[in-house]
């Protein structure tokens, strides 16, 4: 038994990068000592306590020994700490944060399921969270064989990754009366994990931490007076070195959309950054002090560049969404470029101070948030890039050191909000601004976006970026409005509009496989209805696309050939991940429809969306036969 314990610890220490090779021999001798002379074993242990690393290994070894003695098959879970999170891109068996790792690849390094055997993929288990108002819109996480995910109303679940057995649940009590008055309620788009806890935001303005093992609440911090400001949190938080960072809704409301950081241990707020009035420089870009009601926010998780200790975040659109004056520098609803909305910003995670930024769309007149997209860290040809999709369907490629524009390329074919964007400078060419009244020409892309918030995927194996583009427009009537802030903040859209087909013909979506830096297209698959769920690519050379009809597709990542599909029974509008549990690879996808964009599908496309439920959904998990 001591030999087995020693061998087991050898296996595990080699698997962990930088594993200590003295551990296995320490385990072997410790085991023998305990068996023969427990008191002596204890004396040895005390003597070694001064050497911190050594004693930690002994604790690890003791756990291994105890585990082996008990004959337990429970995974030897080490706490998911900053070290594990910062190497998550090399930890294929887990999915430790929203986009998989800080590189935001939405990629799985697992290849057990691959192009040759994916035809044998079948449902392993399912879970129904219940109360699935607005469907399922979150991204599950997985650590050490346990799956964690959030449902509507920020309800939390921990499930055995191999069997689906429920390990614990936590349902926070929310302000139901407030939720009745909110537009986006009550869905939740995801969670973060770190230092032994799961973190989730709520639509009533709180950030909550629960113990990862038990689901018991640890702290519950109110960050936003949502009862007054109407906005709260729908997006997933981001764990960064002992802090939890989360961005508020903002965009459509006359508020100051804010990004918050709290202490992960205590929940105490450490810093906040206002995306509309964050600095003196920013306030100057909002005439008539309209930064106070500017909107903004950052409603999807940003990412963390550990090399430079920088948090990147995408900020949301300003309000009103459509300005009624073409002379926006000096006139209209919010004169000026409106910093830092519709921008990518880089913050110091310790202080929340702004390091640098790039405003993707100065004086955003079209609701094309920067908040929407993943921040993909790619190193190529000796350069360090940050690739970021803007809601307009233009993909921005930055120098990761300073957000200097390296390239900008369009993913979508139908756009007229600009004639183009200069790929060298990011400057908008031939921008389209409005006067109040009906617009003679539809605006493209539509308010639903050339891309929506469903994540794309980058495969380091193929070097390709897999991303859904949407081809649709809106007929638009701009209306001069007044921000309403009493007795409670209200939406300030500033327009009436209707989804419309693009000049190219009919509305459709397409999954593109492109070079992320140059934008060169390798292959594409068209969909009659734009898919609204995130995409997953894997080391098995597969790309998984959960579509809006309810079909989960698997494609060959190199060629785009469809290799497998399965009907999940309801449209997809959430996340998809892959993880290992008990030496088996699983694909977990959220099925359930009812988001804001999906709500238009009934009138645009008819059935099955006309009669598709908006309050149903399940987590569906696949594995090989």
């Amino acid at each position: 038994m001591c030999g087995a314990a020693s061998a087991l610890s050898l296996q595990l220490s080699l698997h962990r990068k930088g594993g200590n090779e003295s551990v296995p021999s320490a385990v072997g001798s410790a085991c023998r000592l305990v068996k023969s002379n427990p008191r002596e074993w204890f004396r040895v242990k005390m003597g070694e306590e001064r050497m911190r690393i050594q004693s930690r290994n002994m604790a690890f070894a003791a756990a291994l020994v105890a585990g082996t003695m008990l004959g337990t098959t429970a995974s030897m879970a080490q706490m998911v700490d900053s070290k594990r999170l910062e190497t998550a891109d090399r930890d294929a068996k887990d999915w430790l944060m929203y986009h998989g790792s800080y590189k935001d690849y939405n990629y799985s390094g697992l290849g057990q399921i691959n192009t040759s055997n994916v035809k044998n993929l079948e449902v392993a288990w399912m879970h129904f969270p219940g109360r699935t108002t607005r469907g399922m819109q979150s991204m599950p996480l997985a650590a050490d064989g346990v799956v964690y995910y959030s449902g509507s109303y920020s309800r939390l679940f921990a499930l055995d990754g191999a069997t689906g057995k429920v390990l614990w649940t936590y349902f926070p009590e929310l302000d139901d009366a407030l939720i009745a008055r909110q537009t986006h309620s009550p869905y939740n788009r995801g969670i973060a994990m770190g230092d032994g806890k799961i973190y989730v935001g709520t639509v009533d303005g709180r950030l909550i931490a629960v113990d990862m093992k038990t689901g018991k609440p640890v702290w519950d911090t109110k960050l936003i007076n949502s009862q007054k400001l109407t906005v709260g949190f729908t997006g997933a938080p981001l764990f960064v070195r002992g802090k939890v960072i989360i961005g508020s809704q903002g965009g459509e409301w006359p508020v100051q959309g804010t990004i918050f950081a709290v202490d992960a241990a205590t929940g105490k707020e450490i810093w906040s950054f206002s995306t509309t009035g964050g600095t003196e420089e920013a306030r100057k870009t909002w005439g008539n002090d309209t930064w106070r009601v500017g909107g903004g926010g950052g409603w999807m998780p940003g990412t963390y560049d550990a090399e430079t200790n920088t948090v990147w975040w995408g900020t949301a659109n300003p309000s009103p969404l459509y300005d009624w004056s073409p002379n926006w520098q000096t006139d209209g609803a919010r004169p000026g470029t409106n910093l830092y909305v519709t921008s990518v910003i880089a913050l110091d995670p310790d202080t929340g101070k702004l390091k640098f930024y790039h405003q993707e769309l100065p004086h955003d007149n079209w609701d094309f948030d920067s908040a929407i997209g993943e921040l993909v860290m790619i190193d190529r040809g000796g350069k360090h890039y940050m690739v970021h999709p803007n809601k307009s369907g233009f993909i921005f490629v930055y120098d990761r050191a300073n957000a200097k524009v390296e390239n900008v390329w369009p993913l979508v074919h139908n756009y007229n909000f600009v004639k183009g964007i200069d790929p060298k400078t990011g400057e908008l060419i031939g921008r389209r601004d409005f006067s109040a009244g009906p617009q003679s020409e539809p605006l493209c892309p539509a308010i639903a976006g050339g891309v929506s918030w469903n994540s794309g995927s980058y495969s380091p194996k193929t070097g390709l970026y897999y991303k859904i583009g949407n081809e649709w427009c809106i007929t638009l009537e701009v209306v001069k409005t007044t921000p309403i802030t009493e007795p409670q903040v209200q939406l300030n859209i500033g327009a009436n509009f209707k989804m419309a087909p693009p000049p190219s013909g009919t509305i459709y979506g397409h999954l593109d496989a492109r070079d992320p830096i140059t934008g060169k297209l390798k292959w594409e698959v068209k969909f009659p209805q734009p898919p609204l769920a995130s995409v997953l690519s894997t080391a098995g050379n597969l790309v998984f696309v959960p579509d809006a009809r309810g079909i989960l597709h698997a494609y060959n990542a190199e060629t785009g050939t469809e290799l497998w599909s399965h009907d999940d029974g309801i449209g997809h509008n959430g996340g998809i991940i892959s993880y290992m549990a008990g030496n088996k690879q699983y694909i977990a996808v959220e099925a359930g429809f009812g988001g804001l964009v999906g709500d238009d599908y009934g009138s645009m496309f008819g059935e099955p969306w006309k009669s598709m439920p908006r309050d149903a959904g399940a987590l569906i998990v696949y594995s090989l036969k």
């Binding site: 108002t133 607005r134 009745a180 008055r181 909110q182 537009t183 309620s185 009550p186 459509e252 008539n288 002090d289 309209t290 106070r292 009601v293 009103p320 007929t475 009537e477 209306v479 001069k480 409005t481 007044t482 921000p483 309403i484 802030t485 009493e486 007795p487 409670q488 209200q490 939406l491 300030n492 859209i493 500033g494 327009a495 009436n496 509009f497 209707k498 989804m499 009812g594 804001l596 709500d599 238009d600 009934g602 009138s603 908006r614 309050d615």
Partner: protein, 140 residues
Amino acid sequence: MQASLLFIWVSIRKVEMARKIAFSLGTLVVSILLFAEPHVARAEQAGSSPAAQTANSSSAGAVDPTKNGEVLFATSCGWCHSNGGREAGRCPKLAGSTRSDDFIINRIKNGKEGRMPAFGQTFNDAQIQNILRYIRSLQP
């Protein structure tokens, strides 16, 4: 002048309606000062008064409540009710609606769980009446 009387008139209306009287009064005045164009401020009136006459109104002393409803609609309703309520989209078509006035008022006040927010604590009765008037003015 007219603007000052307008501020006073609008403020008094708000005092009659609002639950948090002093706070709402102060903030409303601030909001109007900061953000309202004279045209839009007049459009916020829910009824008629000689002081509220505008160059745009057709009847003496009255502000078009339907126009006020149209602005409110584009502020908070047009996001879901497509094309100003004229077409079905992610939300029902409102033009030519066969629903009763009571139904529509109730729906605006209380919303529908998971589908529409409740506006009863945001818009006062007069504003809701104006939104209703706007809806009824839409061609089916």
